[in-house]
Amino acid sequence: MIPVEYYLVLSAFMFTTGVIGVLIRRNAIVLFMSIELMLNSANLTFVTFASFLGDSAGQVFIFFVMTVAAAEAAVGLAIMIALFRNKQTLNADEVNVLKW
């Protein structure tokens, strides 16, 4: 059996990748991909602990998280389309009408 630490290290790595992606990438769609990576790393942690502790609450949580992630993608893409119609760009650096 693979020790539980392996899963946790993998999920921590995924989470870090997601955070770094949010910080350094500028395209709004890539930002959303990075956010999905963060959510999925949390899912991996949940399922690891649920299986390790023998408690199904963690697996129940994952279904909620997946639903939320899908809704988030839908809302996010809708807002991106609205913005793209106004500005013809999805680059976060060029979205700068509002500042300081």
Partner: protein, 500 residues
């Protein structure tokens, strides 16, 4: 039987069921009668009044868990604390819908009015669950329910560059914050093996020293709360979203969603870490994580950054956004005391701040209707051209500063009492200095209203309904500043949380 416990819980979530039915009713009405969109706000108001009636009926109810079955404890609780915040949220929502009726900005999206009221109802539902949740699952879902509705509402005016930009910035910051919070929740679940606050409390109580993994997890969860209450350093979305979103939504976010965030934070800290209460009313918290340090640092940062950034703003909505960050800092300062006195200060402050901030945003909205601008230079001389609005705005801004004889003074007084009672003189001095700084930018608006000469000679007239709404918001601000006994009584009653 599980099914029986679910049926037995139904009478406890009457208000939530009413709001959910209202949501469906608005959608169906919008689809069935596309020509009668002007009735939508009144339908929503009726539903909110029904929900308010059901909430008031819960007041005398014995508090307890909802959806409790067998050995698992419930997902949400009914108690006086939730009762207070539910009424606050309903009151704010009612006013916001009345604001929306008189907003010119929203008239451009008249064909999508159904979506607007549906999403506001969705936010109410989410906030109801936020203020009463005692489980990590409902915590996450309710925060997301509020957030998704507010993302769409912030970007509601699709044709406006500012609005859709606000929507995009809001969803990116919000999704990152909730992703970080979710990772924290997963660590807490792994550490304690449960998602219920009371059961987590049983495990956390026994730790005698700060635990690295648990502290990390709670800091990650705090990111989610900090984003909801716009605490520094998670505040970057606030000014952009507040400026770009429709003014009604800005007012809504600045009061209702912040109140729900605070209620959730208070309940989270109190239930999970509570081990006892000393004779002076201070909570003895578990040593697993030192909330006091974290909250003091965050609160000082929040009020200082909020106040100093507001000094340079030329857009009134953006200035009020920074001012709302500063107000979150004052309320966090009261929370850092971790006492019943501090909680009372927060509850009183929310009533006062809610009234005042809604009033200020409403006048900004009315001025925008007439002049089409929110820039402070366009406010020159408006105090003479619209005398009533000028006087009302002055009263509201004095109240936001926290000077007597307005309600803002009472709110700030109780924050100071809770801090000096501890006693924590350094923090009290920082709060006092911050209030002095805030005086500058609030008075700057008053100066533009009265001391600068108007650019064009104009006369403005407002419909009677709008005038009455402004008076309804302004007169209580003065009355509560002079006669605040009932407010305190109500605050004291609403501190009681389930399990204490």
């Amino acid at each position: 039987m599980v099914i029986n416990t679910i049926f037995n819980s139904f009478h406890l979530i009457g208000p939530e069921i009413a709001v959910a039915l209202l949501l469906l009713a608005v959608v169906i009405f919008d689809l069935a009668f596309p020509k009668n969109k002007k009735f939508l706000p009144w339908l929503t108001i009726t539903g909110i009044i029904v929900a308010g009636f059901l909430t008031v009926k819960q007041y005398s109810l014995e508090s307890g868990f909802v959806f409790e079955s067998g050995n698992t404890q419930g997902l949400i609780v009914i108690d006086n604390f939730a009762f207070f915040f539910k009424l606050l949220i309903l009151g704010v929502s009612l006013l916001i819908i009345l604001f929306s009726v008189s907003s010119e900005e929203l008239k451009n999206c008249y064909d999508r009015a159904g979506e607007y009221y549906t999403l506001i109802t969705g936010m109410i539902l989410g906030m109801f669950f936020m203020v009463s949740t005692v489980d990590l699952i409902t915590l996450y879902i309710s925060i997301e329910l509020v957030s998704f509705s507010s993302y769409v509402l912030a970007g509601f005016i699709k044709k406006s560059k500012r609005s859709s930009e606000a929507g995009l910035k809001y969803i990116i910051y919000g999704a990152v914050a909730s992703g970080i919070m979710l990772f924290g929740i997963s660590l807490v679940f792994g550490y304690t093996g449960t998602t219920n606050f009371y059961q987590i409390n049983h495990i956390v109580v026994h730790s005698l020293s700060p635990d690295f993994l648990l502290s990390l997890a709670f800091i990650l969860i705090f990111v989610g709360f900090g984003y909801k209450i716009s605490a520094v350093p998670f505040h970057f979305w606030t000014p952009d979203v507040y400026e770009g979103a429709p003014t009604t939504i800005t007012a809504y976010l600045s009061v209702a969603s912040k109140a729900a965030g605070f209620a959730l934070l208070i309940r989270f800290v109190k239930i999970i870490f509570f081990t006892g209460i000393d004779e002076n009313g201070y909570w003895i918290l578990s040593k697993a994580f030192n909330w006091s340090y974290l909250l003091i640092i965050i609160s000082v940062l929040t009020m200082t950054v909020g106040n100093f950034a507001a000094l340079w703003q030329n857009n009134v909505k953006r200035m009020l956004a920074y001012s709302s960050i500063a107000h979150a800092g004052y309320m966090l300062a009261a929370l850092t005391m971790l006492s019943e006195q501090g909680l009372l200060a927060i509850v009183v402050y929310f009533v006062v701040y809610g009234l005042t901030n809604l009033g200020a945003f409403y006048i900004v909205l009315l001025i925008h209707n007439k002049t089409g601008s929110e820039e402070i230079d366009d406010y020159d001389g408006l105090g003479y051209q619209m005398p009533l609005m000028g006087v009302a705005m002055t009263i509201l801004l004095v109240s936001l500063t926290g000077l007597p004889p307005t309600a803002g003074f009472i709110g700030k007084l109780y924050v100071f009492i809770s801090i000096l009672d501890a006693p924590h003189y350094t923090l009290a001095v920082i709060v006092a200095l911050n209030s002095v700084v805030s005086l500058y930018y609030y008075v700057r608006i008053i100066k533009h209203l009265y001391l600068n000469n108007p650019k064009v000679e104009r006369e403005f007239t407002f419909p009677v309904t709008q005038t009455i709404l402004v008076l309804v918001l302004t007169i209580p601000v003065i009355i509560l500043g002079l006669y605040f006994g009932p407010l305190l009584e109500m605050g004291k009653v609403s501190l009681r949380m389930f399990g204490f």
